[in-house]
Symmetry: C2
Subunit: 376 residues, 2 copies
Amino acid sequence: MATEPGAGSGSRRPSLKDVAARAGVSRASASRVLGGYGYSSQDVVDRVMAAVRELGYEPDRVARTMRSGKSGVIGFVCADISDAFFSGAMRGICDVALREGAQVIVMNTDDKPGQERDATRVLLSHKVDGVIITPVSVREPAHIDAITGAGVPVVSLDRQLSDIGIDSVVADNEAATERAIHHLIGLGHRRIAFLGSVQREEPPVLRVGKVRANVVGPSRPSLDRARGYLRALTAAGLPVERELIAFAPHDAPDGRLEAVAGVLAAEPRPSALFTADSYMTRSAFSLLSERGIAIPGEMSLIGFDDLEWTTLVRPRISVVVQSAYDMGRAAADQLFAQIARPDATGTDATGTGAGRGDRTVVPTRFIERESAGAAP
Amino acid sequence: MATEPGAGSGSRRPSLKDVAARAGVSRASASRVLGGYGYSSQDVVDRVMAAVRELGYEPDRVARTMRSGKSGVIGFVCADISDAFFSGAMRGICDVALREGAQVIVMNTDDKPGQERDATRVLLSHKVDGVIITPVSVREPAHIDAITGAGVPVVSLDRQLSDIGIDSVVADNEAATERAIHHLIGLGHRRIAFLGSVQREEPPVLRVGKVRANVVGPSRPSLDRARGYLRALTAAGLPVERELIAFAPHDAPDGRLEAVAGVLAAEPRPSALFTADSYMTRSAFSLLSERGIAIPGEMSLIGFDDLEWTTLVRPRISVVVQSAYDMGRAAADQLFAQIARPDATGTDATGTGAGRGDRTVVPTRFIERESAGAAP
DNA sequence: CCCCAATCTGAGATCGATCTCACATTGGAG
DNA sequence: CTCCAATGTGAGATCGATCTCAGATTGGGG
């Protein structure tokens, strides 16, 4: 009832000074009561609490940040918040932040290094307590160094940096893809195409025939999934054929369709497609529909990422599901663990400070529907 | 090149004091140079700029906020950022914020009044320069009053508050729906069902047969669309039948399916369905598919909201498209206009301060595909 | 009765940027 | 030469919360 100051009362928000004045004590005493430290007589406690209630006092987080250096805000730097993956992850991050009493500032990079650099700068100047980032480049973590260099914890989401000191959260891309391909092989498929996305700047130097299995090092989902594809083929003794593997820029719908058309043109035509992300799955499904290629009669299809439409179309699409929400949660959990960890070595020259390079792998699930059938 | 301070140099971020010391001037002089006000000799300007470059100085936004009261941060309070509408709007907001040099804090309410209240409180204590909100309740804008009462500009997104003093951005829900229904009527349909969503707390007191056309007042998309539906029927001289109108809670998939099944059970069965939001469209399409009811042969379907799957399924769904991105942009534009407006009367008792109750209507587009055909 | 510890309280410093104000310098006009 | 305006500069206050420290008051044990 009386918690609100009443619209017409004073001009600005009440400060601790106002509370102290109303309670007839010093700012220090009021602060002790609210902060719960030091000594306070019962009388002072009561008077201060009453004043707080009457004035509807709420501490100013900006002043608190000023003094403590901790803002209670974390940053989330992603390519595009309107993307389903990032907005799903964002929700997970927000939920954890809420639990921790923190807030989240979002920055979009559109996968542009310059925007990423600006974003990290701005976040730093806001004195964020930590940053969750999906780095544009996994090989040049200069901006990330700038963050850890300032003693601010960082967790990398969905991509893993070459720098070992950075915690990261990724899906089990390689193993999940290997299982999916194995499933197709089990259905009798011998010519299985792989379709993935890349960033423009960073062409995938994929060494066909050589499976790189080292866990540590830079990694991007599409490449890891490609590795899983190669592993599965190799394990089954199937040949790896260059013409069945195609990558297209992430942001070019036409390029994706070309890539799909490309592998469909291979001779003999593959009998199954594995699409390594939702954009590719969509493009592949579109093209197959358009050309009247029957799924799974003439072509089997398994995609990575579950989207609502995969159950609305016929046949429903078999997919490897990764939970963006869970990944966001995991990243935030990791971040707050770092923030809470006492060994915040800060900015000494020896170590980058926070982060031990922990790698959290969020499990995926294979959901079998009707788009993958026996090979003809 | 030399812009970065070098990882190992000092301990903490350089402050203006450090810049001043390095330049051999006072903090005041350094501040004048950076702030571009007052007088500064060329010599001092050069020395300060050099020091800024050498130290990689970047002003502390927290301290600046402290002093100026302006944080350069705005808040976005929505039900759930992982929802496609809100994440799309978020992107629009972020783009405008970037242009304005501002950042965005996101808060989820899950359409719970308590969470909304907490969110606004936290944002206020962060001294945000403005808030874009999709209010849980359009009838009890107490929390919003708390924001405007603090002199902080507010824009309501997608929903319109009864309080006239709040700017709002909405789609032209009523007119767009009226046109869509008119389209169905033109195709010969006489029994057209309407399926919408509601919040649990706020049952839709829809007066069947009475078209409330007043523009000012509280409004929620689903209700406005229902009004458009009623208008169209009335205008065509068609009867409004209670059994062809159904609402279901926004967050209950089963309830939606029941609602769809309900109108399908009407005797005689309607020949067309208008689904007032993407959730309903999805549920309706699912149920029709499941029951093998041919679209548009046996049942025509038009939905509100475009989602990628509406072009992937067969038949492709005819829809009324609203651009969440554009709405987000519009809301942010409106908000920054308010922030920039000089007549910020603040917290005087006469007016609520900012906002003139402007209502921005973002146009929608009707995309005709194959799901709406001639009545049987 | 004295003294020391425990308890209680407030003045003032601090975080960093910004702005006011008072106090120098110039220079040119009279 | 004088005077005033224009120009240049720095000391210090300010925003609000928090914490240190010194001082004050109480109580109980010796």
